[in-house]
Subunit: 209 residues, 2 copies
DNA sequence: TAGATTGTTAATCGATTAACAATC
DNA sequence: TAGATTGTTAATCGATTAACAATC
């Protein structure tokens, strides 16, 4: 029953979601795969193939209803499940992430922020008080967050991750330089801003040749 | 002469660079494609194929010298060219990027930070004073930065990008929700933290089925 | 109805993996 | 030298694109 959907398709879903969000916001009600393909610089064929991994969301002769397609993709991505998150590390990166990703508008809820730095504990970040990292175990066991966002130093990342896993956290978004390997039953997304910078650097130097 | 290297290969280069940096730091001098493949969870074949797009950096029977392979990949990525960058937008995201990406250790130089917010102008970020956005034209024409990092609001992104292009900026790292389309002769990398969050959400919900 | 556009199958293309001779 | 491991060619696999019948 459960069809396996390729990694490449999954990786494109958030981008579809973003574009549909913007198109919806601009008031457009329906869109064909051809029009969407032009906006997104991909082929219409690819869009139709991708969507049909999950079901037929369009209508022949009409195209797709923007709002409902957006909702469908949101559902596929799990955005309607009310996932909760805790943020570990209230430094620049942690705060930027907390205020930048439109957490709530995507159905996520940030329920706790932790740090070991006495200067940061008690600070207000997006309406949440930064808590002492030593209280994180009790918090996790009580609140059972769906995921933890790791915005801690390179050195402490592995230790923090191990601790959180032992407290029951099953999913991580990791911003550290070092990648976190997904252990059995644990989901991981590693994010590397530096990679984008290096790719841009490559593009620039390529043009200079 | 100039061989075309596929997008997939390019996209993997920063990851190789990161791993080699860590391996080098840990004091390991040489590594075989097999050992590296196990650390990175890719095939040894892929590593050898990827590297051979750019030349033979290894030695039969020996493997690769970690430090020199790292340097070679750095060169391919253009990290040795002393590229300079300006940051537009000194909010959370801008500051996080400035302090998180190890700019200098990768050979980049951040030479200016700009904002329109009077409260931010004059602030110190990583040893640079935040300057008034209205002075950016003169600055760009004088300093000719290799790239601009856009950490501005969704609404102002397009206007800012157009302005900077007209002042001569040829490469952008864009953190706004909306993607910037690469115009003729302009290099663009769009970064979307929210996408990683959605991918993680997908992974979590996939496991719940 | 006629026109448009999907869902889906088939064809193509490219990327990954396997294999091995070359060689350090 | 013998063993190890690369560079590279060939085989496989998967992803993308093209095409078109189904149908709104």
């Amino acid at each position: 029953m459960k069809k396996v959907v390729s990694e490449s398709v999954i990786n494109r879903l958030p981008r579809y979601y973003r574009y549909l969000t913007e198109i919806n916001r601009s008031g457009i009600e329906r869109i064909s795969s051809k029009d969407l393909s032009e906006k997104m610089h991909v082929t219409a064929s690819q869009i139709r193939q991708d969507l049909n991994c999950f079901g037929g969301f369009g209508q022949q002769g009409y195209g797709y209803n923007v709002e409902s397609l957006r909702a469908e993709i949101g559902k596929i991505l799990g955005l309607n499940r009310g996932y909760t998150a805790i943020l570990v590390g209230a430094g620049n990166m942690g705060r930027a992430f907390a205020s930048n990703t439109n957490f709530e508008s995507r159905g996520f809820k940030l329920i706790g922020i932790f740090d070991i730095d006495k200067k940061k504990i008690g600070m207000d970040v997006r309406g949440l008080k930064v808590q002492d990292y030593k209280d994180i175990k009790a918090f996790i066991e009580r609140e059972k967050p769906s995921m933890a966002i790791l915005a801690v130093s390179r050195n402490s990342m592995h230790e923090v991750a191990e601790n959180l896993i032992s407290y029951g956290v099953k999913a991580f978004l990791n911003f550290s330089y070092t990648e976190l390997d997904a252990a059995e039953g644990v989901s991981v997304e590693n994010v590397h801003l530096g990679d984008s910078l290096m790719r841009l650097s490559y593009k620039i130097s390529e043009k200079e040749e």
